[in-house]
């Protein structure tokens, strides 16, 4: 098991009234692609943030293990170094810092963790070029400041490029498809598909079905009110497409009421 989340409860840090995750369970095996869907406010982004270690949220109950280690004990940079990657809903701009310097620093931090020697400028360049070709990115990508002056689509593609460079074990895509037109979404999907492998897992968090049509996840979960209320295969995507979330939510609420 690569990731095991048990009974996870999380709230907005220092605000008990804002309980967002309320007993979430999830298991991800190496090589699997999981989609997490749900209506607005269900807790999708919170789940991504908690797994990546963002301090805006506080875990109040439950566990998460990654590769056998207690994930929640680790600092965000240590989680990244051990192979957790988050593609952001809103990738951040860093003026004056080139993508090259940024990613060389990141790649070398991760190589150090793996006990590998650091890549110098030339080796890094060569390595980065191979990924640029693989993902069909613009050649000047490395020379530009991190996400500065990038269009929404370019920012997301840059995140996918970073993912390719860091070769993580677990990739979490936090609503990467939001705000993308169909072409940009295809690029993102192609990127993900070309990085799929036996020892790399994905959690694709999304509000819409269309990205999933290109990625074709192995498992689909519906997140509602801080819990996963239904899981299934790819067919669940189509069920949602036809009926929306309401049916599933109503069925879930009925069970809840009956059981009381």
């Amino acid at each position: 098991m690569l990731l095991k989340v048990e009974n996870l409860h999380a709230q907005v840090a220092e605000d008990e009234s804002k309980q967002i995750l309320k007993g979430l369970n999830l298991e991800v095996k190496p090589g699997e692609v999981h989609a997490i869907m749900g209506p607005n406010g269900a807790g999708k982004s919170t789940l991504s943030s908690v797994l990546a270690g963002r301090e805006d949220y506080e875990v109040t109950e439950g566990h998460a293990t990654f590769d056998g280690e207690d994930l929640l004990e680790l600092d965000p940079e240590d989680r990244a170094r051990k192979g957790v990657f988050l593609a952001f809903q809103y990738p951040v701009e860093i003026p004056g810092v080139s993508n090259k310097l940024f990613m060389q620093t990141a790649v070398n931090a991760i190589r150090e963790e793996k006990g590998l020697p650091a890549l110098d400028m030339f080796d890094f360049d060569e390595y980065a070029q191979s990924k640029i070709e693989l993902l069909n990115m613009r050649k000047d990508l490395l020379d530009r400041s991190v996400n500065v002056g990038f269009s929404g689509g370019e920012k997301k593609r840059n995140d996918i490029f970073q993912m390719a460079l860091l070769e993580p074990k677990l990739c979490i895509l936090d609503e990467t498809d939001s705000g993308l037109d169909i072409d940009a979404m295809k690029v993102v999907a192609n990127g993900v598909n070309s990085l799929r492998s036996e020892d790399r897992s994905f959690i694709v968090v999304t509000h819409y079905q269309r990205l999933l049509n290109y990625i074709k996840p192995d498992h689909v979960h519906v997140l509602y009110d801080g819990k996963i209320i239904k899981s299934g295969g790819f067919e669940l995507v189509h069920e949602l497409e036809e009926k929306g979330y309401d049916d599933i939510i109503q069925a879930h609420n009925a069970i809840q009421t009956n059981s009381k």
Binding site: A13, E55, E77, F88, P95, V97, F102, T105
Partner: protein
Amino acid sequence: MSEATQYQEINDLLSKNKGYKEGFYTQTTVETFEKGLNETVVRAISAKKNEPQWMLDFRLKAFEHWKTMKEPHWAKAEYEPLDYQDYSYYSAPDCSACGDHCQTDGADAAEPEMDPEVAKAFAALGVPVYGDETSEKTNIAVDAIFDSVSVSTTKREDLAKLGIIFCSFSEAVQDYPELVQKYLGSVVPYHDNYFAALNSAVASDGTFVYIPEGVRSPIDLSTYFRINEAKTGQFERTILIAEKDSYVSYLEGCSAPVRDTYQLHAAVVEVIVHENAEVKYSTVQNWYPGDEDCEGGILNFVTKRGVCEGANSKLSWTQAETGSAITWKYPSCVLKGDNSIGEFYSVALTNRRQQADTGTKMIHIGKNTRSTIISKGLSAGKSDNTYRGLVKILPTAEGARNFTQCDSMLIGNQCGAHTFPYIEVENPTAKMEHEATTSRIGEDQLFYCQQRGISEQDAISMIVNGFCKEVFSELPLEFAQEAEELLAVSLEGSVG
């Protein structure tokens, strides 16, 4: 998360004791005047330096005027009015080897031995005070100033062969009186402002640079200022003259020991650039900023101004300001010559309770004069960082252009960034561009870096250096490196 706690971690990181490694104190025999300021003191300073009558007259005139002036408090920096009687206005290492008149023995006298303790201090600061050192900084000539006097000037013989004069201000008064008389107060008159008047009255020492016509200085010239004595003011006076078709790159660095009372530094710098000449003037200012509350730091009240006298002349100010409790400083360019160019590149970092009010003035007089202002303000802790700048286009300045860019970065949520750009245009052909941004190193940027495996400390330094890149690229190489390191130290916390 509440506003107050949101940046707590960054603040904690920044409030850890920053290693002010220049904070040591040199124990040596010194001759220091009693505290206090009056006409007798002004006369005594002049006598100590064995000055000619015209210099004494200049001092006395300035002192009389200063007494009629009021301490300015318009800057966005709060400080209690200073007690000028509580400072000493002259302090020098007592150098028994050469007696009281070692400054005035003339250039042909053997270079007096430097007090070994003073030499040690400069060595610890990495300042090559002996010209023959095989350090990496040998491609540089240094004037080392310790409290009120210049203790060593290196490479002067090599420079003299080219006709370049590089000596202390005190020596210049003795050896080149015509030049000093011609230019002293020509750019910054003694009545210019309160601190310029004070400086004119009690000027301690400084550097004098003269580049003759057609000479490009093959090495960088530099001055290192060191305030050592407690409760001493340093009032250096620097004059730099670049004759027709000449070029020089001049650097200055500064530091002071850790003290618990404010130390006063009120310098005046005058730069004169003639036709087709170019001067690059770079400063890395690392005065002691004071303790957590900035008690005991340096009060840095400086008037720096240059005049581009001739056509096609160019003056470029580059500064990295990281120290001082309070900085009050506006290196300026008076663009008289047609097609002359003024530039100002600045990085000012404030932390804790430091207050910086800094910027520039670009006065366009000649035709087709151009000026560029790039200012980067970084505020952390509980500090206040202000850009204050004036761009003035006079009616004569046909076709003048200015580009101004002021960027501020906030680190944490208890600091302030302020921008006061003044623009006065009296000629309709002028082209003015002004850009200003304020950003914040937020949890978002830090988290983004950390999520890519980069530690928090590396992330802060990467983000800050990225922000300052445009300015650092203007500094001479070694200085650029020093400035980057200074920023890192000034923002130092400990990881883990």
